[in-house]
């Protein structure tokens, strides 16, 4: 299977980076074809520019800065996002990647005069989100689970109509001991083996 992994954390020794490594080793072990984007490592710029906003419906061919990421999205069957949840959502770096790469001609098309978008990433049959939360599951529920809904709804509707989503989250990470962290990495591995 073709799997596109997007990793977002500024620190190389973080638990999120350890999750990414477990994802990559499991996928390699299963013989999947993998492409990786490490947003911080490649110095991605998350701010959608004025030009990009003005030309948000223009062809993606005019946007070479996102060409490689867009090609990976069109190529993969499974998308894996690995990131920490900050302020109940994706870090700005990852949100900016969505703002700039999931554009018209890549993720959707907007028929003239319509408010309804038509999905283009019908090649994606599965989205896996692997994340950590500083707060508990209860607090996340009170906050409305914004990060989860971005994945399971906003992004999901741009993929194949039968696409499935898998949510793997370690809550309350500031109070998670070594054992809980290891258990989470094992859970990530088990889940990815079933892809």
């Amino acid at each position: 299977m073709k799997v596109y992994v997007v990793h977002c954390h500024p620190i190389a020794s973080s638990f999120t980076a350890a999750s990414r490594d477990r994802v990559l080793s499991t996928l390699a072990d299963q013989g999947h074809e993998v492409r990786l984007t490490d947003l911080y490592a490649e110095g991605f710029e998350p701010e959608l520019s004025a030009w990009e906003h003005t030309n948000h419906l223009s062809s993606p061919d005019l946007k070479p800065a996102i060409a490689e990421h867009a090609a990976n999205l069109r190529w993969c069957e499974t998308l894996v996002l690995v990131y920490p949840t900050w302020w109940s959502g994706q870090p700005a770096m990852l949100k900016g990647w969505i703002d700039r790469v999931w554009v018209a001609g890549v993720a959707y098309e907007l028929p003239a005069g319509s408010n309804g978008i038509r999905p283009l990433l019908t090649n994606i049959h599965r989205i896996v989100a692997i994340t950590t939360h500083g707060s508990s599951k209860l607090v996340n529920a009170v906050q409305g689970e914004g990060g989860k809904r971005v994945v399971t709804r906003s992004l999901r509707v741009l993929c194949n109509r039968f696409a499935r989503t898998t949510w793997l989250a370690l809550y309350d990470i500031d109070h998670a001991d070594q054992q809980a962290r290891e258990a989470f990495l094992d859970r990530v591995e088990r889940s990815l083996r079933k892809l």
Partner: protein, 195 residues
């Protein structure tokens, strides 16, 4: 009242800029002291850096003078007004990054002795969100309006018990008429005058 207006739109001739201008004018005419933070215009950097992440739980988490000065403004703010376009059901990356980098421990919230998050902005009496949406209302509700959740819930629980939240939304902006937009600006003006 001390009011901080935060604007997140890349184009200076955008409708969001018109909203922010309307809001600032109305607030100033009511005698409030208004600070407008036009995040794109001041070149705010969206992504939290590795250095900032490493300093996050330390004594001085705000490393850049601009970030520290925004934190200082927040300490005295009695009303916070956010003006932004909703992209992929959430905050634009630059605004999401502003939350992550400015509302650090000691500014937006504090950790108590047990490491639990406690409100840090108890002097804030009003939270106002003003957003434009490409999608019509039912679709925005379906995808959970995650940007609104971030402000009305995640930020709200870090303010005082009696803080009031108001939301002004213009849905389906791509197909809105000039008249609808003018009505919306009028609504913004009225709401800001009665704050």
């Amino acid at each position: 009242m001390q009011v901080v207006v935060v604007l997140a739109h890349p184009n200076a001739d955008s409708f969001n800029h018109a909203i922010a201008q309307t809001a600032c004018t109305a607030l100033r005419e009511q005698g409030h002291i208004v600070d407008l933070l036009d995040l794109y215009a001041i070149g705010f950097r969206a992504a939290m850096s590795a250095e900032e992440r490493a300093a996050y739980h330390g004594e001085h988490p705000a490393l850049e003078p601009m970030v520290a000065s925004h934190g200082e403004l927040l300490r005295h703010a009695e009303a916070l007004v956010f003006v932004y376009p909703t992209w992929w059901s959430g905050l634009p990356a630059i605004l999401k990054g502003w939350f992550e980098r400015v509302f650090v421990p000691g500014v937006g919230f504090v950790f108590n002795a047990k490491g639990k998050v406690r409100p840090g902005l108890t002097q804030v009496r009003h939270l106002v969100g003003i957003s434009t949406y490409g999608s019509p209302w039912p679709y925005v509700k379906f995808v959970n309006d995650n940007g609104r959740r971030t402000i009305a819930r995640t930020l709200r629980i870090n303010t005082g018990l009696r803080t009031r939240t108001r939301w002004l939304a213009l849905y389906a902006i791509d197909t809105s008429t000039v008249q609808e937009r003018e009505q919306f600006l009028h609504r913004v003006d009225q709401r800001m005058r009665s704050l």
